[in-house]
């Protein structure tokens, strides 16, 4: 981990997640002269302005041209720089997908894509600006690491890890403030390793991004009101996914609910389902997220509620899954 960069829960409550990204990249820029930032007319929105103020010669505003941004980033990486290219997640994943696919992932170059305004966090902008398919679109790309941090502190950790690890990264963060999940950056963040936020034996909630906080709230409510012991995993890295943590959840809790601010097709839920099915063991399973429907216009917290990915929605679904009838297989000796 890069030295000297630490954020506290206080910072996290005072700063929007993108602002923490902005400060992190500015500080990383001081340590590594090869780090450059590229923005398609979004230096302000994506909070790259700190970096711009400190290192104007290493900042490139390409205008409203996301494809060009990613292509330039790939060319720069081919020549030894570490470009951070940032724009709204929906445009990074869809508008510039061909460049992400061919220029970045096929060539396996050191480009870091920071997708902002992830999920429905830019709620009032409507579906043109919601990123509800980005994880599903980016996840199949060979060589790509996909991270969806739970809050500002985790964003700082993810950005530091990306800067220090060669290869393509896609980090998806939200617009505005995230509920604080971590009070310190020193909780053992590791790419590809889920964080157990809450131990439990009755059911596991696997969440990413803003849904981690909601899942923790839900677990707390379920404990107090129902006496249920709910495990909560923060699956910040969607790819490579922590298979061990998923299989342990299948084995130890036999019930899994995934929660994401994303369509239920192709994202975290699908990634977890792939692992579960290959594990070959019966497991009650439900994916929460956008159920193959466009979202609506509204405040982010209202949209989370609308899609039952807020604490109350998760509680309701947990209670339903707890009643699901499935045949438990006690013989783990025949595990594939």
């Amino acid at each position: 981990m890069a030295g000297g960069i630490t954020f506290t829960a206080v910072d996290s409550t005072k700063l929007a997640t993108a602002e923490i990204f902005g400060r992190t990249i500015a500080e990383l820029g001081a340590e590594n002269p090869n780090i450059v930032c590229i923005s398609p007319d979004l230096a302000t929105s994506t909070k790259m302005a700190d970096f711009l103020a400190k290192y104007p010669e290493r900042f490139y505003n390409v205008g409203i041209a996301e494809q060009n941004m990613i292509g330039i980033a790939a060319g720069m990486a081919k020549s030894g720089l570490i470009p951070f290219a940032s724009c709204f997640s929906v445009f990074a994943s869809l508008r510039a997908l061909d460049q992400v696919h061919t220029d970045v992932c096929y060539q396996n170059v050191n480009v870091k894509i920071i997708g902002t305004h992830g999920g429905t966090s830019f709620g009032q902008a409507g579906s043109t600006h919601h990123a509800i398919e980005d994880i599903g679109v980016i996840r199949p790309l060979v060589n790509m690491t996909v991270i969806v941090p739970a809050d500002g502190i985790e964003t700082a950790n993810a950005v530091k890890a990306a800067a220090a690890t060669p290869g393509p990264f896609y980090i998806r963060i939200n617009r505005g403030f995230d509920n604080v999940v971590y009070s310190t950056p020193d909780y053992g963040f590791k790419v590809g390793k889920a964080v157990v936020m809450n131990e439990g034996t009755d059911l596991t909630i696997i969440a990413c991004g803003s849904c981690v906080y909601q899942a923790m709230q839900a677990a707390s409510m379920l404990k107090h009101d129902q006496g249920l012991s709910i495990r909560v995993l923060n699956m910040h890295t969607i790819k490579p996914i922590d298979r061990e943590a998923v299989l342990a959840a299948v084995k130890e809790t036999r019930k899994i609910i995934t929660v994401e601010d994303h369509t239920v097709i192709g994202g975290l839920g699908s990634a977890v389902a792939e692992v579960v099915v290959e594990g070959g063991k019966a497991c009650a399973f439900r994916k929460l997220g956008l159920q193959d429907k466009w979202s609506a216009i509204g405040l982010h917290e209202d949209l989370l509620a609308m899609h039952e990915i807020d604490a109350e929605g998760i509680v309701k679904n947990v209670l339903e899954v707890m009643k699901m009838d499935f045949e438990a297989d006690e013989d783990w000796g025949d595990e594939v």
Binding site: A65, Q67, N68, I72, M76
Partner: protein
Amino acid sequence: MALSKKEWFELETFAADLRDLTIDTVNWAGSGHWGGSSSSADIVTLIYRKFAKFDPKNPEDPDRDRVVVSKGHVGILLAPLFSLLGLIEKEQLKTFNLTGSKLGIHLDSNKVKGLDSSTGSLGHGSSLALGMALAGALKGQTYKTFLVLGDGECDEGSVWEAAMATSHFAKRGGKNVITIVDRNHNMIDGNTEDVMALEPFADKWKAFGFETVVVNGHDIPALAEAIERAYKGDGDKPYCIIADTIKGEGVSFAAGNYKWHYGALNEEKYNTAKADLAAFRAKRLERVNKEGK
């Protein structure tokens, strides 16, 4: 500038050898993109044999000039080119397109040493080249980045996003991109002006802020003069050379025929092509003998 007779002769010979080895590779592979390969043959000959600071013995030299061939479907030209430069064994060309080969229609920069970028999805090379040029300038390196575009791929909007940015960032490195468009007038479905009109093409490049020149892309001395001017790079603008070429040049049944964007050879066609190319070589060398000084 004047190429010496000797240098001109050597460049013509290299271009002729390149076309020969390309048609051989098309024959070994059974089929290939002969049309756009032959139209680009003189352009890449001049880049690699005359202008680019590029040592095949040290293809990863960080200070080398970069070359991005955005019309990536001419792998069947670039592989023979790299073979003539000593980067690929000639025998390896016989594996072109075969299962498991390192060589195929679109070359992979992670498999072919000396290839600065994988290309294939059209309209990507301009941004890649600009990124390389910006990186060089930021690091205080003086290398140039050659960008070879197909004319048909200029239908892609991304070409113009990057063109705008290349001029905009001229002082930050964009000026070190030397754009050469292979204007062979043909694409898969026909003439560019029928499929999607590009003209007034030079005016478009000028309007995007480029010092633009149109030159015969098969006239080695004229093309060399244009590239030399771009390489020297007087003024504030990046340079764009529109190289007017003939798709399939040098082979009677393919020259100017859009249907020869991609095609297959049988024995008869291969023999005709080889005979045509021999005559084409002789004709061009005769000009060197007549006009060279």
